[in-house]
């Protein structure tokens, strides 16, 4: 079977690429081939409203199932692409089917990283990446009293918040000396540690997991490097993803951590573009460094970049990164990238549970983390976009709206 545009991956990026192509009048045939059995759905609720049961699956579908056929978009779920032949312009799926393409958009995202230690594959050990993952957790939860969450990133913290709200005892293990160490400054880490502890989460920093203990089938606990044993009927592993790019790299695409793309999301292989979590790109908001961004924003905006390029209106990718995380009654919104900052200014009081952290690099604003502070988030965006130079003392003054600084910069 041949498609003019074949999209590998049915997540946010893949879905948006197809939607935007049709919106822009693209008339060729489009197919989305996805490894999971479902049509495209939103991933963020898997560790929030879907895990808690607040939203049924139908409400997290990116579009109703009938939408795709109505737009002439073929969705081929339950098929994993295992090989790419750039010369033949064809991919092969795990079931041996060969799909031809004119243009290939690789939007396969990543696979949840699994524990390498003993017991990592026992029943009761979960990752939170797919609907099937979340469904398995929900099925087991009624019989669970204590959960160990491994990893203090956003997924682990969000899952911990949902599990506490469900009345479970939660122990959260983080190997670094603070949660969110990969994505935020220390002040934000300390704030979230305090909030989770106040909610009853037993957070243990600097914890090295040595093994998952089990009864031969089911996980029964976790053993740490210092010999500590923590009983658990469920273990939730949130230690990041491995970008799903093996077939592309095997076909000769440049890359390493992800697949390398240029400003138009082109890989080094002809007629193959890559978007979303797996696309390693030079990001203007990371000082031009090559990074991967695991976010809905990046997936959507790269999808739009590709759809524009394929419909004769190519524009380089230059979207400001933004991100959100909801835990308990805390709404965190991030704009920009704080990695590599040299100065962090606290704006407002964490004790008031409404504050922002403004990150600077070489005198310029590079990012904001805003907790229950939507106004700072919306007004601070211009500071990030403009790389504003502002006086940290003024930024710290909550009586000065950030929009005044943006106007002055």
């Amino acid at each position: 079977m041949h498609h003019d545009v074949l999209i590998v991956g049915a997540g946010h990026g893949g879905a948006q690429a197809a939607i935007t192509l049709r919106q822009r009048g693209y008339a060729g045939s489009i197919a989305i081939v996805g490894a999971e059995p479902e049509p495209p759905y939103e991933r963020p609720p898997l560790s929030k409203d879907y895990l808690s049961g607040a939203k049924p699956f139908e409400r997290i579908l990116i579009r109703p199932a009938a939408f795709w056929e109505g737009r002439g978009i073929t969705v081929l779920p339950g098929r994993r692409v295992v090989a790419v032949d750039p010369a033949a312009h064809a991919v092969t799926t795990a079931d041996g089917a060969v799909l031809g393409y004119g243009q290939l958009i690789w939007a396969a995202g990543g696979e949840a990283r699994r524990l390498a230690c003993a017991g990592g594959d026992l029943a009761g050990v979960h990752t939170v990446r797919t609907r099937a993952d979340a469904d398995r957790m929900r099925l087991e939860l009624p019989a669970v009293e204590q959960v160990v969450v491994i990893g203090g990133g956003y997924v682990g913290l969000e899952a911990a918040a949902v599990l506490r709200a469900a009345g479970k005892r939660v122990v959260l293990l983080e190997q670094a000396d603070r949660v969110l160490s990969r994505v935020a400054g220390t002040a934000l880490s300390r704030f979230y540690e305090g909030e989770h502890r106040a909610q009853g989460v037993d957070i243990r920093l600097g914890a090295r997991v040595e093994a998952i203990l089990g009864d031969g089938r089911q996980a029964t606990g976790v053993r740490l490097g210092d010999g500590t044993l923590i009983p658990a009927q469920m273990v939730v592993v949130g230690i990041g993803i491995t970008p799903a790019v093996e077939p592309l790299l095997a076909a000769g695409a440049e890359g390493g951590d992800g697949v390398a793309v240029d400003a138009f999301c082109r890989t080094s292989l002809p007629d193959i573009r890559a978007i979303g979590d797996c696309a390693q790109h030079a990001n203007a908001y990371a000082g031009g460094q090559r990074i991967r961004l695991e976010s809905v924003q990046n997936a959507n905006d790269m999808a739009i970049t590709v759809a524009k390029a394929l419909t004769g209106a190519a524009e380089p990718y230059h979207a400001v990164p933004w991100f959100w995380s909801n835990q308990y009654d805390l709404k965190l919104q991030t704009v920009g990238l704080s990695a590599g900052h040299d100065t962090a200014v606290l704006r407002g009081a964490p004790a008031a549970r409404s504050f922002s952290i403004v990150y600077f690099r070489a005198g310029r604003v590079v990012a904001l983390d805003c907790v229950n502070a939507i106004r700072d988030y919306t007004q601070g965006r211009a500071l990030v976009e403009g790389g504003a130079r502002c006086d940290p003392a003024v930024v710290a003054d909550i009586t000065v709206p950030l929009k005044d600084l943006a106007a002055a910069a």
Binding site: I19, K48, R71, V296, W324, N326, K331, I374, T378
Partner: protein
């Protein structure tokens, strides 16, 4: 079930019956109005589901702050994820703003 008139970016209008209890954002999405990105999925964390509604209604404080992200803000602006539909929304007119 409220009947709602939706005017797309190209100016064409269509009246559709939406389910009470759903948000307007979900109603638009489920009826094939695909111009809204609604990137955060309806948790009031972005402003990509911005619409104009008539009759106008009052935005919440959070919503008000987020609407500042749009260059096409009007008095009738709302975030469609923050409107939970009720039978009283019968006759509502919704317009999709220009792209930001």
């Amino acid at each position: 079930m409220p009947i709602i008139t939706v005017v797309s970016r190209d100016g064409t209008g269509r009246a559709v019956e939406m389910d009470a209890g759903m948000t307007l954002m979900e109603g638009l999405r489920d009826h094939g109005f695909d111009e809204l990105l609604a990137m955060c999925g309806g948790c009031c964390s972005c402003a990509t589901c911005h619409v104009y509604v008539e009759p106008a209604s009052v935005a919440t404080g959070e919503e008000e702050d987020l609407l500042a992200l749009s260059a096409h803000r009007r008095d009738t602006s709302r975030l469609s994820c923050q409107i939970t539909l009720t039978p009283d929304h019968d006759g509502l007119r919704v317009e999709i703003p220009p792209e930001d």
